[in-house]
Amino acid sequence: MTLEIESKEATHDTDGLPVEELVVNIGPSHPSTHGVGRVVVHLDGEVMTHVEPIVGYLHRGIEKMSENRTYLQVVPLTDRLDYVGSMYANWAYCRAVERLAGISVPERAEYLRVIVCELQRIASHMMALGSAAGDTGAATMFIYTFDERERIIEAFEELCGSRLTYNYVRPGGVSFDVPEGWLDNVLAFCAAHRDKLTEMDKLFFGNVIAKGRLKGIGVLSAEDAVAWGASGPVARGSGVNWDLRKHDTYSVYPRFDFDVPTGSNGDAYDRGRVRLFECYESCRIIEQAISQMTEGPVKTPLPRLLRPAPGEAYSHIESARGSLGVYVVSDGTPRPYRMHVRSPAFCNLALLKILAPGHMLADLVAVMGSLDPVFGEVDR
């Protein structure tokens, strides 16, 4: 594949004057690329004719680094994949290792994993909604969503001492049981969060300008969503009812009663609103999990050096961005022979190339915000 970054083919207009496409390089250092994304855009006036997302600016070689560390030492590396949803990568990796080594997980640990991951989903969706709104100029929505995210991050800090890179889910369980009163705080948060979500829905998605900016922008058909490997809210916004929590269920998710919100138009507006509605469902799951939870151990005792039998294992979970898969191969030594991450953000970002052309430059950030890429996970 060649990158057509420079286009010097001059055409001529009706008066015989040379006309050139304007090539705008957006990123890797730009306010709306959500990190270090880079997009090369060809403009005809304000309309984009060609959009090329370029990745690789945050490549840290996490997959290769994993091959030189013991199974437990890889867990902190997975924190750095999706740094606004660290719990998911922790869990996806630990599930793969548990499958590989045949480790069982105590029930209380499974419930705690569900609770922290649903909280993480809310935190991640708040970030996605806030920055997508901020990209369209709604600064207030940005502050409101980050206020909610801050509550969850504070709860995580109380739980495991970190605000972003938690290293909480470990092979065989979780690192700590919850502190005294923590679950009550989470319940209180969920109760208050619903009102905030309703307020945000009115403030941003009910706004006439936001509707005008997001409706009909970056329309993704259900067929394309499946063909391009989209998952998570991006696929569900196009009406693809695909959620691993329901359709390839894992952990204790079958015990909960929750719905999978889907959109109908597949535009940026629907993708954003699917995220908003998922937060309500996450609150429902957390409340059910807390009421069903029983006392018990949170960790299976494991040897310091795990030496799984030679073999391979794949595990995927529903992260805030979609199907996050981790593939681990063991050759019988204490270190993984290969660790690979199937990143939903990477697959979703690729859609920018088909969703953005034909729209105006101002829509690029709206489309990109609705795809919610996190470059730690895209580049790995």
Binding site: L22, V23, V24, N25, I26, H30, P31, S32, L43, E46, A133, G134, D135, T136, G137, A138, A139, T140, I143, Y144, D147, L203, F204, N207, I209, A210, G212, R213, M360, L361, A362, D363, L364, V365
Partner: protein, 317 residues
């Protein structure tokens, strides 16, 4: 006093007024935005953070004034002043007291409508001379936007001039009657929206759209030149608010003396606050939506309003 000295005096006074207005305006904006965001806003520098803008200004003045190597140097360095001077000049025709304006010409309204429009040349020059794609797009957006919104804005003010039978600022003020409030309500709404677009503020801040154009036409400016662009923006807000308070609210509902002056200040501040409120609540519109609003919504409303006011004026007067 010679006319030159008078001119210098009033020029200095207008510059000072804008500087003070910008200082208070930036502080107020940050406080208003803070309250809307459930934050406190600046608090540390001085009482209630009042000196925050002063501290920022000192920082900006001390910063290096960078001219990019690729820039077209002369237009690049001149552009901030071309934007600022017309907006500062427009403040000269505002009647600050009953029957008195610093520069009371018989075509004050025309002056106010026409002169600030010259700043579009500065915006275009800044965008073009930066030799930066973001700045170029921002400059072109700015030119298209300001020229488009000129029309509904002027038409809406024209309705008031028709009722007054005068295009002098003091003439409009003298002729103002409370029933104008009802008749001119649509014209005022058009004026308010068009003014926000005219001074490039949110939700119509497309030329400097942070999300896609970083800072638009002044993306490459730094230090004092950047500060002059910001002062021009706040000067524009203040000028639009003062002018709106005079033409549509008759300088405090026609009261003279101190109560009238206080009401005048109150209305001007209310308009400024409303502009900030709109900016921090609404997302930004898209260029095509902006043009649609100007040509398909505001201009027809202003034209119909002009027709209605014309009928009323011929029947009343």
């Amino acid at each position: 006093m010679s006319s030159f000295a008078m001119g210098a005096f009033w020029g200095l006074a207008a510059g000072l007024l804008i500087a003070i207005a910008a200082l208070i305006g930036v502080w107020m904006e940050r406080k208003v935005a803070g309250r809307i965001h459930m934050r406190i806003g600046p608090l540390e520098a001085g009482p209630f953070g009042l000196l925050q803008t002063l501290a920022d200004t000192v920082k900006l003045v001390l910063k290096e004034d960078i001219t990019p190597a690729a820039a077209d140097v002369r237009p690049f360095r001149l552009a901030p002043f071309v934007v600022f001077v017309p907006i500062a000049s427009s403040l000269a025709v505002i009647p600050y007291a009953v029957g008195w304006a610093p520069f009371d010409i018989s075509a004050g309204v025309l002056f106010f409508m026409a002169v600030p429009s010259l700043s579009v040349i500065g915006i275009l020059a800044a965008g073009w001379a930066s030799r930066n794609t973001f700045a170029t797009i921002g400059g072109i957006r700015g030119a298209a936007q300001m020229v488009s919104y000129e029309l509904p804005r002027t038409l809406s003010v024209l309705a008031a001039c028709m009722l007054a039978g005068s295009i002098s600022m003091t003439g409009v003020l003298d002729a103002w009657r409370p029933w104008w409030l009802i008749v001119l309500a649509p014209a005022f709404i058009v004026y308010f929206i068009a003014s926000i677009a005219e001074v490039n503020r949110g939700p119509f801040d497309l030329p400097e759209a942070e999300a896609e154009l970083v800072a638009g036409y002044f993306a490459d400016y730094s230090g004092i030149r950047w500060a002059i662009f910001m002062m021009a923006e706040y000067g524009g807000v203040v000028a639009a608010s003062l002018f709106g308070a005079v033409v549509f609210f008759g300088r405090g509902l026609g009261l003279g003396g101190v109560p009238g002056a206080l009401l005048f200040v109150f209305f001007a501040f209310a308009l400024t606050t409303a502009m900030m409120w709109v900016k921090w609540t609404f997302p930004r519109v898209r260029p095509d939506q902006l043009m649609t609003l100007a040509w398909k919504v505001l201009t027809p409303i202003a034209l119909v309003e002009l027709l209605v006011v014309g009928v009323i004026a011929s029947w009343m007067l």
